[in-house]
């Protein structure tokens, strides 16, 4: 996935000379996960540059650059490191278009390695999506595989509006022969990644792979489980969610973020609004807990496991 993201940045820098890539350690070092590796060497330190450690500064500078017609792709080095920039993102990145009656575009892409699963330190395993999904004016995407990562990042950079790209760091080293062209789906479209009729599991990010593992286990028991990669968290693909619930009658939502007001709450609400009469069981959520993300030694107890996911599917099927 790192290679796909790197290719997306390279292609965007090549195609549009108003694209800038900046953030902490993205230049000479190529980013702590090497997503920006080699870009400064190819495009120079005017278009790909290191900033001081300054998250509000990075996000705020992108706002000012957008006034001048620049298209910034910035990196927040880790999920929780985006919190010092929240004011800039919520108050300005997200609202400047509306505030200026559409006269000023904010074509800003904010990339951040997100979610847990790599035995990181505190502040290195957060699921910040609810903050951004709840903020009108932003779009939020979370790829789960290299091909989607390339496509979503290209779409984000090309978008006239700000897009938060949550890159699942546990999937950075995932390999896949991927189609690195710009054809295909748009932001706002989910993907049905495994078909089945027993129930639908809705998920995103690193949990897509785990839900597919759970679906394999369940298939051995004769339960064919459908898995939907939401891929775009804002806007959500409500038609796909509704269709899958109409067709399977049962739904489980899986994410790493704490349960309360996590994305599962929104997906469940949409299911109830759009497909209540098709439900044959209550919707179940398999999530992180309403606690801070735990230390490395405990993260396997926090993150939804194959067993927890499979149990939830068994439960809604047996209801």
């Amino acid at each position: 996935m790192v290679g796909a993201l790197n290719a997306a940045l390279r292609d965007a820098l090549r195609e549009d000379d108003r694209v800038l890539v900046f953030g902490e350690d993205v230049g000479r070092s190529g980013g702590v996960f090497r997503v920006t590796d080699g870009l400064q060497a190819e495009f120079g330190d005017r278009r790909v540059f290191d900033t001081p450690i300054s998250e509000a500064g990075i996000a705020g500078a992108a706002v000012g650059l957008a006034f001048g017609g620049w298209r910034s792709v910035v990196e927040m080095q880790f999920d929780a490191f985006s919190y010092p920039a929240l004011e800039q993102i919520v108050d300005h990145v997200a609202k400047m278009r509306e505030r200026t009656r559409g006269r000023i575009d904010m074509p800003i892409t904010i990339r951040m390695p997100a979610f847990g699963g790599i035995k990181g330190k505190e502040h290195h395993g957060e699921s910040p999506e609810t903050f951004y999904v709840h903020t009108a004016g932003l779009k939020v995407v979370a790829p789960s595989n290299p091909g989607d990562a390339y496509r979503l990042l290209r779409l984000a950079i090309a978008d006239p509006d700000p897009v938060i790209v949550l890159e699942p760091k546990a999937r950075y080293w995932a390999r896949q022969d991927a189609d690195l062209t710009t054809g295909g789906f748009g932001i706002g479209e989910g993907a049905l990644v495994r078909d089945g009729d027993a129930a639908t599991v809705f998920t995103y990010g690193a949990m897509v792979a785990r839900c597919l593992d759970a679906a394999s286990v369940l298939a051995d028991e004769g339960l064919e489980t459908r898995v939907v990669d939401l891929r775009s968290l804002s806007p959500l693909d409500t038609p796909l969610i509704a269709r899958c619930v109409r067709e399977t009658g049962r739904a489980v939502v899986v994410h790493e973020a704490p349960k309360t007001l996590g994305l599962g709450a929104e997906v469940t609400a949409r299911i109830v609004e759009e497909a209540f009469e098709f439900l044959e069981a209550p919707v179940r959520r398999v999530t992180g807990y309403d606690v801070p993300y735990p230390p490395a030694a405990l993260e396997h107890r926090y993150l939804p496991s194959v067993e927890r996911i499979a149990d939830a599917v068994r439960e809604v099927v047996a209801y």
Binding site: P52, G60, A61, G64, G68, D91, R97, R103, T238
Partner: protein, 354 residues
């Protein structure tokens, strides 16, 4: 003579005109008599309009309004010094600067009328950013904009206005640091008016604000913000530095907020009337007018003519503001995204009864 406001003590600010209107130092700031007169007229118009806005708020025609009486020289001196390509990132208290920069005051006041957030004026056409309520955040925008100017090789600068309270915010320091590191052609213009709502400057910062610049690697200058000629010259020089590729400048303009922080604030709870009365002795308009009269650039006749003109201008602005209709409800939905997602399109249709 009255004593200076407390927060003016310390390092002597640059001055061209003494508070009594006599020249000190080099009086020639490079402006012709016509331009000098125009500056005084802007100051008179701005003060009259500011007072009108406070009255309009009292009459229920404006929502909460932040006055700027006493800060006319700081705003008009600096705004006049900028070139047409330069871009201003204001706070919520820069009506005087907006007038000078050519922003339509009726559109500007739409913000305070409550018909739009940023004011419907076009920030690109006027080179005047939308009104900014979170303090210090716009300084970073100005630095980012300036970084873009440098990348483009455009011979222009940006100027961010902010108050003394902003200098205790993280964004001020992040902006100053970025400006220094990237040698951005930005002017960081602090109107130190003594108070951040109820908290005096000495509770915002233990040091002198202009000295902060040194730590970020660029010049900081303290200027008498009630001396329009000194403000003009200082800003002109900062802009020339920026144009020449020599990087940012921090300007601390010492001024005084004569009125309340806003029409929702009661300064009687935290400051004494004697302080305000003493500060009036440093009035920027009286000072400049007195000098212009002393050198024969204006006379009573001109001032009397202006009074009538300004009165009609302000009344026309007032009528324009009052005549502004509430915006159509679809405005809520129209510009959240360039291409609205389905959920917003549905909510828009619901509100419009479609």
């Amino acid at each position: 003579m009255a004593s200076e406001p407390d927060h003016w003590r310390g390092t002597e600010p640059l001055r061209v005109l003494a508070p009594d209107g006599t020249a000190v130092g080099d009086i020639d700031v490079g402006l012709a008599p016509d331009e000098l007169r125009a500056m005084l007229r802007w100051m008179l118009l701005a003060r009259r309009l500011d007072r009108e806005c406070i009255a309009l708020q009292r009459q229920g025609e404006l929502t909460v309004y932040p006055g700027f009486e006493g800060q006319e020289a700081a705003q008009i001196g600096s705004a006049t010094a900028l070139g047409p390509e330069d871009f201003v990132f204001p706070t919520f208290r820069e009506l005087a600067a907006a007038l000078v920069r050519g922003v339509d005051p009726v559109q500007y006041l739409a913000y305070h009328r409550g018909t739009w957030h940023g004011g419907p004026y076009d920030p690109r056409a006027t080179r005047f950013g939308p009104i900014c309520i979170p303090v210090a955040t716009q300084i970073v925008h100005a630095v980012g904009y300036a970084m873009g100017l440098a990348l483009d090789g455009t011979r222009a600068c940006s100027l961010a206005y902010f108050g003394d309270g902003s200098t205790s915010e993280g964004d001020f320091h992040e902006a100053a640091n970025l400006a220094g590191v990237f040698s951005a052609p930005a002017i960081l213009f602090c109107q130190n008016n003594g108070w951040a709502i109820s908290v005096p400057t000495e509770r915002q910062t233990a040091g002198e604000i202009f000295r902060r610049a040194e730590g970020y690697g660029f010049p900081g200058i303290r200027v008498d913000g009630n001396d329009v000629l000194a403000v003009y010259r200082t800003t002109r020089e900062a802009a020339a530095r920026a144009y020449a590729g020599d990087g940012p400048t921090l300007i601390e303009a010492l001024t005084y907020r004569i009125g309340a922080h806003s029409t929702a604030d009661d300064p009687g709870r935290y400051r004494v009337e004697d302080e305000v009365a003493a500060a009036r002795a440093f009035d920027p308009i009286v000072r400049f007018r007195s000098w212009l009269e002393s050198v024969g650039h204006i006379d009573g006749g001109v001032l009397a003519d202006w009074e009538g003109e300004i009165e009609s201008e302000v009344l026309a602005i007032r009528d324009g503001v009052i005549a502004q209709p509430a915006p159509p409800v679809e405005w809520m939905f129209d510009h959240t995204y360039a291409d609205p997602p389905a959920a917003i399109a549905e909510q828009r249709a619901e509100v419009l009864g479609g």
